[in-house]
């Protein structure tokens, strides 16, 4: 009995060691691939960063009408964003090469699932970028318009509009990524509906008198200006 146990133990240890020794070249290849890809990524990122800096890429991008990209970038620099993006791609490629050396079937499975998810990620990123641009444009329009109308709560309005659009964009992006879609739908519905309901209540009930007085004051001011305003601009 004891000899059988010893034999089984020896056999399983031998199998494990044989399997482990069989994996060692793969693991070594994974580490080498990873280190090589990190080195290559660093070299490429440095070259790209220097090239883009010499081209004044950040300023050009702002001039071409994409100033909002800076907000999404590390240290507010799209140059760094591009350089780090390239570095990440190289490192990911290195990891995939390394994993392929360990177990080729894992790589194909991983690549398949990653590629199946890529359209969702791309869609979500596009929605976020577009949402960010629209949010910035609308919030600026509201801010400038409200300031020019002498509204004291211009910034509040602008921030409100910005967050409404951002929340909408984030909800759409999460929907695209299929991350907890039920919760996102529910949370978004509650949040958006809540905001609209709160505004309706505020205007309809709580701020009725305030709104009336404000409108009356504005109307009075406008009529006074027509009578007394000595300035003619255009």
């Amino acid at each position: 009995m004891w000899s059988q146990v010893k034999q089984e133990l020896a056999q399983s240890t031998a199998r494990f060691l044989a399997r482990f020794i069989g994996l060692l070249p793969g693991i070594a290849a994974l580490i080498v691939a990873l280190l090589a890809s990190i080195l290559l990524a660093w070299i490429l990122a440095t070259i790209v960063r220097r090239l883009l800096t010499s081209m004044h890429f950040d300023q050009r991008l702002a001039r071409w009408g994409f100033p909002s990209l800076a907000e999404w970038s590390p240290l507010q620099s799209p140059t760094l964003l591009v350089a780090q993006g390239i570095a990440t791609l190289v490192v990911v490629a290195g990891i995939l090469i390394g994993v392929a050396a360990v177990a080729p079937e894992w790589t194909s499975l991983l690549v398949q699932s990653v590629f199946a998810y890529v359209p969702n990620v791309v869609g979500a990123v596009l929605v976020l970028v577009f949402g960010s641009i629209v949010a910035r444009f609308l919030s600026r329009s509201v801010l400038i318009g409200a300031v020019n109308l002498n509204l004291r709560y211009a910034r509040l309005l602008s921030v409100g509009v910005r967050w409404l659009v951002v929340v909408l964009a984030v909800a759409m992006a999460l929907e695209h990524l299929r991350i907890a879609p039920g919760i996102v739908d529910l949370a978004f519905g509650i949040l958006f509906g809540g905001i609209v309901f709160a505004m309706a209540l505020a205007v309809g009930l709580g701020s009725k008198d305030l709104v009336t007085k404000s409108l009356e004051r504005d109307a009075q001011k406008a009529s006074d200006e027509h009578v007394q305003e000595p300035f003619r601009h255009v």
Binding site: W64, F137, S141, I144, G145, N148, E225, R232
Partner: protein, 419 residues
């Protein structure tokens, strides 16, 4: 500038006239009596020119027909034709400047069609209209070979402020001609100038461009003759505060766009020169009284508080610091130095060129700054008369001229460090 094609139904109306030496487009709302006076004044032009007077066909009294108007002309006088013209609609509420632009283009198109030597556009009503002021506007074009006749309105100190604060001094500093009302809007244009402008831009037409903003730059850069004609005070419409920032954007955008187009020309210009003026300046009486600037200062303070992130993209840090200091001053002490205002205008022009932010946002965000300057100007001239007004505006113009090296430097090297 683009010349709009003339629609078929309008072609038929204009074919009755066949040809004309002078085309006068009447955009102002004149009653029938004023129109008859205008035609009578035009008939006194020497050389018996044929004159087509284009009038919005919705405003023309059907009882006055072309045949009757023509039959009144005498042998040695000019012949006038009253032509109902459906394209003259300058008063679209939201986009008055664009509508005005379309009306100008339509007058230019008619002038080209009729082979006119010159055209005039009458867009204003004057406080005390001299009967022959339109003739004075047309005469230098036909008799003295002048290419651009601009009006020199008698001015009240608080009227035409956008022109006084930005348009006239900016054009003077850029193009080196002291023109009081470079955008008219009552202007006389020779065929030579109009043809040059078409020739310049035929290959690259720009939709929505404002032709009157391009007239003075084109005339100066092409070395054409410009003269001023003194006329009475213009009646300005009351300020529509709801659309004021849009209007500011509509007016400044073509001027800044022209700066970009004519950069090579204006960078060569140095000091400014007066243009020949036909007549003596007309003086108007001014009421000396206090004005309320609190609303404008309040608007500026609000802008300084809430628009700083936008201004920060356009203005250098030193200007922002000065604006912050300005916003803390009391109403009595509130003064925006001309040098600061001039740098602000130049920086906005540069940001317009570089498209630092959306151009419409950029120009609309300038409104509180403009109001701050107006408040400061009103403070200075509260009790001043005509002489003080002239001196004040001359001081501003000189500030623009002395600030030009700053503009040229920033224009050429926008990325250079600017504290």
């Amino acid at each position: 500038m683009q010349v709009e094609p003339i629609p078929q139904e309008v072609q038929e109306k204009i074919e009755v006239v066949e040809s004309a030496d002078l085309v006068v487009g009447v955009l102002a709302e004149l009653n029938q009596e004023s129109l008859v006076i205008l035609c009578d004044a035009l008939r006194t032009l020497s050389g018996s020119p044929r004159i087509a007077v284009l009038r919005d066909d919705h405003a023309v009294d059907p009882s006055v027909d072309i045949a009757r108007t023509n039959s009144e002309t005498a042998q040695n006088h000019a012949t006038t034709f009253l032509v109902p013209w459906p394209l003259l609609r300058p008063d679209t509420p939201d986009t008055p400047m664009l509508s005005m632009s379309a009306a100008y283009q339509s007058v230019f198109a008619a002038s080209e069609k009729l082979g006119a030597r010159a055209c005039c556009v009458i867009a204003s009503k004057l406080e005390t209209p001299e009967p022959d002021w339109v003739r004075q506007l047309a005469q230098p074009l036909l008799e003295d070979d002048v290419d651009l006749v601009v009006p020199r309105y008698a001015r009240h100190k608080f009227e035409g402020l956008l022109n006084s604060s930005i348009i006239a001094p900016l054009m003077r500093c850029l193009y080196g001609r002291r023109i009081h009302n470079p955008l008219g809007p009552d202007l006389g244009v020779s065929r030579r100038l109009f043809e040059k402008m078409i020739g310049n831009d035929r290959s690259a037409r720009m939709v929505g461009e404002h032709p009157i903003a391009s007239l003075v730059p084109a005339a100066v850069c092409e070395n054409l003759q410009i003269c001023e004609v003194c006329v009475g005070a213009r009646i300005y419409p009351p300020t529509d505060w709801m659309n004021f920032s849009s209007l500011l954007s509509q007016i400044l955008s073509p001027i800044f766009a022209d700066m970009e187009r004519n950069a090579a020309c204006w960078q060569r210009m140095r000091a400014s020169l007066p243009v020949p003026a036909i007549c003596d300046p007309v003086r108007v009486s001014e009421d000396a009284g206090t004005v309320d600037i609190s609303r404008m200062v309040e608007s500026f303070r609000l802008g300084n508080r809430d628009l700083e992130e936008i201004w920060g993209l356009v203005l250098p840090p030193s200007t922002l610091v000065e604006l912050r200091k300005l916003s803390r001053l009391s109403l009595e002490q509130f003064r925006m130095p001309d040098e600061l205002w001039v740098r602000i205008v130049f920086d906005f022009a540069l940001a317009h060129r570089l498209r630092t932010i959306n151009r419409d946002h950029l120009l609309k965000s300038m409104t509180p700054l403009y109001l701050a300057w107006v408040a400061s100007y009103a403070h200075d001239l509260e009790t001043g008369g005509a002489t003080a007004l002239e001196q004040r505006l001359e001081r501003l113009s000189l500030a623009y001229e002395s600030g030009k090296p700053y503009l040229v430097s920033r224009w050429r090297w926008p990325d250079r460090f600017n504290p």
